[in-house]
Amino acid sequence: MTCKQVEALIPDFICGDLEGDELDIVRIHIEECSDCAKAAELFKSTIFLIKESAYTPPEEIEINVKNRITEYNKRQKIVRLAMRYTAVAAVAAIILSVTLSRLPKMGMKSTMPESSKDYQAAAEMYSEDIDMASGKSDDSVIPEANQIAPRAAMMAPAQQAVPEEETPTAKSEPELAAEEATAAEAALVPKAAPAPEEEAFGIMTYGLNISQESADEAVEEDFSDVPVVEYFVSQDEGSYESYYYSGDIQPCALYAMPTPVLVRPNADGAEYLIKNYSPGFEGKIFAIYTTGNELQEDPVLTRKFNKIENEGFNLYFAKNTIDVLEAVGRASGGNYPLSGAESAVKADGNMYIIILEFFKYK
């Protein structure tokens, strides 16, 4: 064996990874060759020094993390209880949607101009969504049969919310199916629909400011990689408190906003909530949060968003801004302009994850 060959095997020799004849050959060579012996000694010293240079982690790390986990587990229990206690977000979102759709019947009007291009765009989108939900197009994304009903229940009222002059005179098959589904949904959630006018709803809005770059990474990878930079929560009417926060999402929101804001369950109320309690609606909306309730399985979200399952909740990351805005438009009953938001997102490199959680409140 030449010196060059031995030199290549020195790391394995020193680390004890050689055996048999190879071990003997290298050992004997090193005993007889001073250059290789020196190289072996140098390697041994290097490895020793590297090992010696290791940092010992401070004991506080494990202690602090354990304490934080204990605290987190406690809060998670509270969150689960809170979730159980409140009417879950999906149900309330449906209620709100249903309520919005019945505005004409209730003699209320939206504050948005009926001729708004955005309004029309949103209405067209909803029509398309109904087609999707009723199986008219793209079989690959049609959800399970038992998921269609709740979805259609959400969509049908949105279609009805289109101003009267734009409402088609004849009802298409998807619309009829959607109406039937509305009835089925009402039967499924008897306490939820129809909502009495005097009943109030609370809304919790909270969000995370993340960079576009991080958001892209998050879409490609998983939620664990989303760096949380800023956390804000709505607390009092018209004001926000900002926190630097890099931890949980939902427990803190529940803690930070113990008293929901009360609004009327109508379009003005919804507009008030979204405008005043969703600063991100000005154009920094990136993803919609839902709790892990089966009623919230939304085929459109499932189709257009990357769904991230997490313990106790699902997070939907949009593939692009438009999808997010469409979803927000849908959640708001089609009453909100979308184009301004899009340009704002383009102007600002950052986006926000906005979390809207509707729940029934008395």
Binding site: P11, L42, F43, S45, T46, I47, L49, I50, K51, E52, S53, A54, Y55, T56, P57, P58, E60, I61, E62, N64, V65, K66, R68, I69, T70, Y72, N73, Q76, S214, E217, D222, F223, S224, D225, P227, V229, S246, G247, D248, I308, E309, N310, E311, G312
Partner: protein, 195 residues
């Protein structure tokens, strides 16, 4: 599946169900690894402590999304590296011009002199600490790729196969990268007259 993997999967499953003690065992197993990787990236022990804690907590909170397609160590490592890189990115945005020119030594954390050192002479202890610091500096000058592989192999003692799995590299690439990294450290140490 060997015993260690089985135990690890068991611990992960328990931790996923909210068992803090199970997660504590996982944390104990990987604490040194994660801390050394992170300190290599951020070069500051206080930041490294915060980031290591944050990484473990993030991992605990996100266990629901860990599907077990990769090893837990690999997943944890990725969380820690991403957390550290995010920290570096945001720190660089916040950074303002220093009042004084930065010294070459500033980035390295001060040594903690242990009382239980086998050496009795203070001078010897001091020399050993100085040597250790110099080696750390040599390692800190390596590229990220070389530094992480040195930490995994020579400090934490991971096998080539484990390193390949964590870094998603072929075995041959792992070996050649380790050799290049060691040679780079050796050259630095010779230059610094440590060896």
């Amino acid at each position: 599946m060997n015993d260690e993997n089985y135990n690890e999967n068991e611990l992960v499953n328990k931790a996923r169900k909210g068992d803090g003690d199970a997660f504590g065992q996982l944390m104990h197993r990987y604490n040194s690894f994660i801390y050394n990787v992170v300190i290599g990236l951020v070069k500051n022990q206080y930041d490294a402590q915060d980031i290591t804690q944050e990484s473990f907590f993030k991992a605990y909170r996100s266990l629901g999304s860990f599907r077990g397609d990769s090893k837990f160590s690999s997943w944890l490592y990725r969380i820690a590296v991403n957390t550290a890189k995010d920290f570096i990115r945001s720190a660089s945005r916040r950074r303002t011009l220093p009042l004084e020119p930065e010294s070459d030594d500033d980035d390295l954390p001060p040594m903690q002199i242990k009382d239980d050192s086998p050496m009795s002479e203070p001078q010897e202890v001091l020399e050993a600490e100085e040597r250790k610091n110099a080696v750390r500096k040599a390692i800190s000058r390596l590229s990220d790729n070389h530094r992480e592989i040195i930490i995994m192999r020579d400090i934490e003692g991971y096998s080539y196969e484990e390193i390949g799995e964590i870094l998603n590299l072929e075995l041959g690439t792992v070996k050649s990268r380790i050799n290049r990294a060691r040679n780079a450290v050796k050259e630095e140490l010779i230059k610094m007259k440590i060896i």
